[in-house]
Amino acid sequence: MRSLVSFLLLALVAAVNALSASGGNRLLVILEDVAEKAGYTKFLGDLEGRGFDISYETPKSESLSLFHLGERSYDHVLLFPTKAKGWFLSDTFVPYPTCLGPNLTPSIILQFINAEGNILLALSGSTPVPSSLVSALLEFDIHIPTDRQGLVVDHFNYDAASASEKHDVLLLPTPGPLRPDYKNFFGLSASGKSGVIAFPNGLGQTLGQGALLSPILRAPAASYSYNPKEESEALEDLFAAGSQLSLVSTLQARNSARVTVVGSADMLSDKWFDASVKKVGEKTSVKTLNREFARAVSGWTFGEIGVLRVNWIEHHLNEAGQSNASNPKIYRIKNDVTYSISLSEYSWDKYIPFTVPENDELQLEFSMLSPFHRLKLNPTISSEDSTTYSVSFKLPDQHGIFNFLVNYKRPFLSNVFEKNTVSVRHFAHNEWPRSFVISGAWPWIAGIAATVTGWLGFCALWLYSAPPAKGESKKKQ
């Protein structure tokens, strides 16, 4: 009965988690001017169509506040480039760069991420990045060109139709997976369309070495970034070039909060959704895939794809003749145990079974200070919304406080870090084999038996032997 209740409770908790795992639907869009949203109707309309409840604010608005009474007021923030003038003045007077106003300081942005809020940041090549954003991005180890401004151009790979002069509309193929063993959420293969992604008027970023950062879209080999404000003919100090330049980059924080920096806000605008472009040197013009790409990027950022859920974890003793209760607190060394974990992946509107990408493994560590076992978890049961992975193994011959640890952290998938602590005790005094079972002990047992019988026999002989008659003994002497 109790287990049933707890199961129901668990299911309830899981259901509640399911709603929030997909990230909630309160989306705040920050624009320089609310009227600007007219330029992004398709994009915002798509978002609304996916169920987001959008509020619009400007940075200068008094009512703009990401937190209310210590709780997040919004689940997601979408920040379009702001062209705030006069921020130089305020910058000199207050310690923090407040070009985005006092409600969007770097520390508030970090606080928002620490509170598991997601941020989608759209930048532009023609607008300087507000310095508070630059500071925040620096904390993430995402670097923006000096002077907060830069434009990515590629003289070999531009849209001949719209940017024949400036070469600043890059045409890019859909990105492949970052590494062969990663899941590719942005390949757009599902949409079935072929085409290119247009990246007009964009600002490139470079990423630090952190493992939390990963680029979605990298610049082609011949592209580079320069500052259009600089008048000089030749580029003196190159910010970055080629694939080091990231056009759309992401940070997934340890708490799985997501930050995406889209280098070009224009690529999200109505103008470039379903536009026709013609790559330089090619005859035919093709449709852009910006709409699909924007959907994937925003969907990932706002937790609609790539979110993993641990439904339950179970481990039990796997030995005949013993009680195999679930999740015991204590095991014995050399016990056979089975560990199972059930995983689901959220995909747009529902949970689907999570399948580990090819070439990748979901692993279980059984560790105390360092792993004693690192085992591959194999899919065993698959239901319509979850896959159960499990593995059976023998516990090591070492007592201590161990962790069943699943530490599955991959780019673009939310972090799975599940630690279940169990104690592994030593053999109890009555769990050893008895001496008569061990063949090596038989000589000793025989020795003991011989001694005991010999002693008893001697005593009996001694007690029941009559003392020799006196006469005889005298004779002998």
Partner: protein, 768 residues
């Protein structure tokens, strides 16, 4: 849960009186009046003895009740576990709340005697329908056993001398001598609480077995030896002392069948009994500490065999046989021992043992042993402090033993010799010396009292003796000095001298009682967790930071939050705060302790991964700088460094913690390593802000501190107790967006990250 009921004994005076009474009675039992009127028949004497012993036991218990605080907590915890889960569960107990994450096989690594004793008493009282809490048994166990120790001392002394006053005096001394009280006040629930009784009683049984040559007494002795092994690691003292006694006796040519029977019975049964304790296991046949007993066991067989051969063959043949046989066996035995030790079958002498011979050994090779104050060599005043007048009666008593020199007196001499040596080497072993001091001193004191408290002078016999001795002396050498001595001006039988000596002795005894009471109430009854100090107006001020902090941990942290602290506080945290610890007072794993030492003495960047690997949630340090409490972690810090250096000599170096001039400093001149160490940072974090600028002061070290307090990045202050004695820090999680802690902390403090990347050096490219 915390036991704070300080059983304040009704002032010093009232506990004073029973003591005085006891000793006075002990002394006055020989007083003429009493003797004349009461001591005529045996039954009255017996009754008197029983009453006196009962009073002594009562005094022994009473003098241990000044203040009560339960310590060490581990034993109490273990006893609770035993009572709650039964013996077999206790036997197989795996404790996952200490030594995280190693855990401790507690059932197999402790001496269960103490807990089992309490458990048995508990169940017995329950059976008798006495509703009693196990806690009360634990608190009062040590005083109760001190009463029994007094009785055991009485028995042992009675074996040494025919004078029954010696036994009573020994019992009284044993009951109140501070050397023993120090480890047996109420609430001091440590192994020594019962071990000293067992030690003395085992010795008594050994003497009894030896005197009677009785297998029964030998078996009893082995039984109590087994109990002793189950109770205290100090059993090795018996294991070495008894064979030594046998060896000395054999060397004195006193081999007898009594000795043979007593020793072989004791050794065979005692060793078997000791091997039943899981913690001891096969040690008796594998470690060097136990080899003397085994060696003497073999030796006594040889000697017995030789005796037999001597009685069977002619003396000439016997001589050859003896030289060849003995030489051969001895060399084979020695070679075997060396070979087995070299081959690793017999463990070499343990470090603790070496430190008994060379007091400097531990400091160099095993700092963990040297770091315990109990393991320091004893200071001279400590002997007087703990034993008072007994210390000068003691040699006299030993001298008395030389005069009689029966087998049992040889034992006292051997014991006295080794006990004194070991007590000089290690403060803690004062405890094993105390019984023999009491016995020897009682023999000496009773000799004095017996001589001088004789009301009637036994003139005729004595003069006859003197005459006869005079005659013999004349015959022998005609020494005039003897004649002058035989006609003293002030003789022994003079009433004046009797009164003077008796008065002096009474005075000494009174001073002894007064000293014992004073020492007990002042030095040995102040619990270590609650500090008492005097305010300027003389009123008592209680500093209760420890309990305050442990209570905070108990109420504000997760049930399984792991606390890292130096091992001194492990048992207290485990008991009072009920939180898992990394290391505790059961210092079984030196490497684990060294790991904690390394974390404490390293830079934050080094310490953080260690703490993370060990899943540390909170770090607790003791800091006495504000209050002038000298037992704090900064003063213990060098031991942490040394212990860590023992394992990681390349990473932690003691020299780096000293200034270039070789001073251990904490002020502005402190070395960089010192200033960057986690311990230093945790101790002085925010400390300067407590003072006006330029006046920050450390009252323990007596130095002025720099105005800028050290900055902590990977830890945050969680709690600081009222007097700053306990400071608790929370270990921060990894930064959410992947920065290092220094960067994250600097951002928190409002510093803008410098944009400065590159310019110099090649670009760092991102690989993927």
């Amino acid at each position: 849960m915390y036991l704070c009921d300080v059983l304040q004994h009704p002032i010093v005076a009232s506990s004073h009186s029973p003591l005085t009474m006891a000793v006075d009675q002990g002394a006055s039992s020989k007083l003429p009046g009493l003797l004349v009127s009461l001591g005529k028949n045996e039954s009255t004497k017996t009754l008197l003895k029983v009453i006196i012993l009962a009073i002594i036991a009562a005094a022994a218990v009473a003098s241990r009740l000044f203040s009560v605080i339960l310590d060490p907590w581990f034993n109490f915890r273990a006893t609770k576990y035993l009572v709650a889960n039964g013996f077999y569960q206790f036997w197989d107990w795996f404790d996952d709340r200490t030594w995280h994450p190693l855990g401790r096989v507690t059932g197999g690594t402790l001496y269960p005697g103490l807990m089992v004793t309490s458990g048995v008493i508990y169940h017995l009282l329950r059976f008798l329908t006495v509703p009693v809490d196990i806690r009360n048994i634990c608190v009062l166990l040590a005083p109760a056993f001190s009463g029994l120790t007094a009785y055991a001392a009485y028995l042992l002394t009675n074996e040494m001398t025919t004078s029954s006053s010696a036994g009573l005096l020994a019992a009284a001394f044993m009951g109140i001598t501070p050397g023993y009280i120090s480890r047996s006040v109420a609430g001091s629930y440590d192994n020594e609480a019962i071990a000293i009784f067992l030690l003395v009683f085992t010795f008594f049984l050994w003497i009894k077995a030896l005197k009677l040559g009785s297998m029964l007494w030998g078996a009893l002795c082995a039984l109590f030896y087994g109990y002793m092994v189950a109770s205290w690691g100090g059993y090795a003292f018996i294991t070495c002392l008894v064979p030594l006694h046998v060896f000395v006796l054999i060397c004195m040519g006193r081999f007898s069948m009594r000795l043979y029977v007593a020793y072989t019975t004791w050794y065979a049964l005692g060793t078997l009994a000791s091997m039943q304790i899981p913690f001891v296991g096969f040690l008796p046949v594998r470690t060097s500490e136990h080899m003397p007993a085994l060696g003497i066991f073999g030796f006594i067989q040889l000697v017995a065999f030789l005796e037999y051969v001597r009685s069977a063959v002619s003396s000439r043949q016997f001589q050859t046989f003896m030289y060849v046989g003995l030489g051969g066996i001895f060399s084979v035995g020695l070679l075997g021992l060396v070979g087995l030790t070299a081959g690793g079958y017999i463990a070499p002498w343990s470090g603790r043992f070496y430190s008994l011979w060379d007091t400097g050994y531990a400091k160099i090779h095993i700092p963990i042993i040297a770091s315990v104050s109990e393991h320091q060599p004893t200071a001279w005043p400590a002997f007087f402090f703990d034993l008072n007048m007994l210390i000068w009666l003691f040699p006299a008593g030993v001298y008395m033993c030389f005069q009689k020199l029966e087998d049992e007196h040889v034992f006292i001499i051997v014991y006295a010799l080794f006990g004194s040596y070991f007590a000089g080497v290690m403060v803690r072993l004062m405890l094993t010396l105390t019984p023999v001091v009491c016995v020897a001193a009682a023999i000496a004191a009773s000799q004095l009292l017996d001589t001088y408290l004789q009301y009637k002078s036994p003139e005729p016999i004595e003069s006859k003796d003197e005459e006869s001795s005079d005659v013999t002396a004349k015959k022998a050498s005609k020494q005039s000095s003897l004649r002058s001595a035989s006609q003293p001006v002030v003789g022994i039988y003079n009433v004046l001298s009797k009164a003077f000596i008796a008065g002096t002795m009474t005075l000494f005894l009174l001073i002894f009682v007064q000293h014992c009471t004073w020492v007990t109430s002042n030095a040995y009854s102040s619990p270590s967790v609650v500090l008492a100090s005097r305010m300027p107006d003389g009123s008592q001020h209680i500093i209760d930071d420890y309990r305050e902090a442990y209570q905070w941990l108990r109420q504000n942290t997760k049930e399984d939050a792991k606390i890292m602290s130096w091992w001194d506080y492990g048992y207290q945290i485990g008991g009072m705060a009920d939180r898992p610890t990394l290391v505790d007072n059961n210092t079984w794993n030196n490497t684990h302790i060294a790991t904690v030492g390394k974390a404490m003495s390293s830079r934050e960047e080094v310490a953080y991964p260690i703490m993370r690997q060990h899943e540390v949630d909170y770090v607790l340090v003791v800091f006495g700088g504000l209050l002038g409490y000298s037992g704090d972690d900064i003063n213990k810090f060098l031991w942490m460094v040394r212990i860590a250096e023992g394992i990681w000599p390349d990473e932690v170096k003691e020299r780096d913690f000293f200034t270039p001039r070789g001073e251990y400093k904490v002020d502005a001149d402190a070395s960089e390593t010192m200033k960057n160490s986690l311990m230093y940072k945790m101790s002085y974090h925010n400390y300067a802000s407590l003072f006006p600028p330029g006046q920050a002061q450390d009252r323990v070290r007596g130095v002025r501190l720099p105005d800028q307090s050290p900055i902590l990045n990977s830890l945050e202050e969680a709690y600081t107790s009222e007097n700053w004695i306990i400071r608790i820090y929370k270990v921060k999680d990894l930064d959410n967006v992947g920065r290092d802690h220094a960067a994250a902390a600097s951002f928190e403090r409002g510093h803008k990250k410098k944009k400065a990347i590159k310019k110099r050096g090649p670009r760092v490219l991102r690989a993927e």
